[in-house]
Homo-oligomer: 470 residues x 2
Amino acid sequence: MAQEHFDRLTALDASFLEQEGPTSHMHVGAVAMFENPVPDFDQFLDTIRGRLHLVPRYRQKLALPPMRTGRPVWVDDPSFNIEYHVRRTALPPPGSEEQLLLLTSRLFSQQLDRSKPLWEMWIIEGLEDDRWALINKTHHAMIDGVSGVDLATVIFDLSPEGTVVEHPAEPWTPAPEPGDTDLLASGALGIARAAIDSVKTVTKMVSSPAAVFDGLRDGIEGVGEVAWAGINAAPATPLNVEIGPHRRFRVVQAELADFKQIKNALGGTVNDAVLTVVSGALRTWLQSRGVRTEGLELRALVPVSIRPKEAHHEFGNQIAAMRGPLPVYIDDPITRLGMVRKSMDGLKESKQALGAEVISGAQNFAPPTLLAQASRLNFSTRLFNLIVTNVPGPQFPLYVGGSRLLAIAPVAFLPRNHALAIAIMSYDGGLSFGLLGDYDQMADLDVLADALQDSIDELLALSAEAAATA
Amino acid sequence: MAQEHFDRLTALDASFLEQEGPTSHMHVGAVAMFENPVPDFDQFLDTIRGRLHLVPRYRQKLALPPMRTGRPVWVDDPSFNIEYHVRRTALPPPGSEEQLLLLTSRLFSQQLDRSKPLWEMWIIEGLEDDRWALINKTHHAMIDGVSGVDLATVIFDLSPEGTVVEHPAEPWTPAPEPGDTDLLASGALGIARAAIDSVKTVTKMVSSPAAVFDGLRDGIEGVGEVAWAGINAAPATPLNVEIGPHRRFRVVQAELADFKQIKNALGGTVNDAVLTVVSGALRTWLQSRGVRTEGLELRALVPVSIRPKEAHHEFGNQIAAMRGPLPVYIDDPITRLGMVRKSMDGLKESKQALGAEVISGAQNFAPPTLLAQASRLNFSTRLFNLIVTNVPGPQFPLYVGGSRLLAIAPVAFLPRNHALAIAIMSYDGGLSFGLLGDYDQMADLDVLADALQDSIDELLALSAEAAATA
């Protein structure tokens, strides 16, 4: 089985724990809206109980080796109680989407308890227009955007009739909790393994020197790019200020077909169009704050999955960070799209993504005490202004307990000194922008959401014109 | 005005901050049930807005002097936003009291944000039988059980028609936030003031030596009693184990008249009867866990207000801790009541309460770094097994927004290594027992709640017999 008792966290997974502070929560998730009827809660619990063996990590908690001798390991939680993790609540009348987003922001303002498996799932009743909602919240150490799609298989069905899940004959029994001696030994083992990996690289270099040298050189060049980005700091903006623990959340709902029309009529990729409208929205919002946008280009951190496709059912993060350009200085949407497109093409040819991977790989040898400092490099304010992450979702309807999923919006996270993050997800023809802001620093998140809607409408209208005259 | 910008926390108030850890939350509050209709939320916000000037602390946050040179001070919060503090939610159907208590326990599992005024108030809709609920949550540093009644005047009315509150002509404007220099100066000032107080005592001793000597001698004797209690540790029980951040909450609703009948028929005070039924409940619960109760007497920490009655409108804690006997070894309820009564009479004559006050007074001179250690004495596991606090409430109906308050149950707090706390409050003829337990360590809190109900019924039946044969 891919996830086992006593698995050690990868360096990147552990870095999400190290980066978490009192105000920088490292959980992520989504808010999903379904058509009624809402599933019976006890039946819903039974459904999850019947599928948890497919994702053993959901019944595991962190165990920390004493004296920080190694990264944490996942161990079975002997006091696992599904009713702690799966919760039920309701919206007061009228049950508007605005009220649902307020609830979402409150739930994401509270950190997960590290002494328990790192997830929560909430069923929300009373959503207007005959709907209900599901909010899930999972620690980033356990999940990334791509494996998130895999985790959803635990509860999402491909048809209203549901899926029969084969279940092991034996009921789940937690492995005994490790003592300090076990954990200390496992810490030493972690260090030993990293040493063995280094030996393996040397061995490989001897037997196939050219291949190893190429890999090494690419890695070094990549590190160079990231280091350069670090020196060449991102511009100071109202986005990069001290934040509190509380959040605001807004959703802008768009159509994937509209973004495909933009791409077809004006060139570039869907992702280029996404960065273009985000740039336009940030431009309007900054100007509403009285910030001058002349010559200002913001930098987005765009997480990129570098995991091989076959590994979808194995957990853990294999993501790299790319720097996405946000040319807020350009008023004209088509010129702005052209600039984004040109920059992104250039970046793909550079070694940025590989560099981030190499940094992550190097952490495999660093004890957690060093890691706590080193891993911060990835999320340093100096490197980027905000996270913009675009997660592809399924383009066919999904169901939970027979109810059809109508729309789903992803919720990202705010690293220290980052007041805004934007996560985008496509599902069944829709494209949802989830805007997560600090409660006090982004009190005007509505202004940004409205500006994003305007920016999408504007680019779409121009693409329709271009298509008509083509 | 009693509460001002830049007020320094008292030593005891600051100790509640120092004692708070990731799993030992120091907020307290209540859950109150009202008859419908639920107030319009915007009108409710307006009502609170119109009365906040009566309790300025509600718009103030903590400011910490740099380098811990003094205790924190209260300062106006320039980003005060009432919609952050006052929140609205609903119960899913059927809206049972059990669901309300589950929501209460979840809200009390989350700490207040120290960068904001230390309170939350939740309006809960959808409670069955045509009712709604109000949950309030306030940091103990800002409030004690007795001043809690005063704070409620902000929203509670004496009649359904409500109360006209006189309002200052000028709207509230926060005082500017202090810089580090101001706070450093204020820290030094705090130390200087304590020195001046010592000088004053000396001066007073010279002019009236006998009176000062009496006060001093009583104080010293009191310290002796508490120190003795510290050496003579409370017994080890399943109540005093490591706890997590999560809570369970149960309410047992009784009638004040029943406890008066017990008192009249069997002797003692209402408080003696309360400790007797709590002892009986703990006895049954311990036995259900397989713990032997022979010869076992648990110790309750019973907070006692030592504030003069005239000071009700000035904030801050002036409470002392008394040790309440819980003779769980006695099966017979009348014998158990007799033993509680005898012990309580003896304790009142001893200097325990005064001793705690003297300890608190001595802290006025200790810098916070020392205080953090010293204040823990009061809540040391070795001194007591659980908090049992009995707060007298008004014996006439109260209203909020025209809706009558039907019942109110207080929520206490769990210090480190204390898995259970019981808060009792009387209101309009009712007597509510609020049982707060750690989520994992008190997974069987229902057993204790049932045992408490049985223990009350048993003692009441015996008092009826005694009254009939008298």
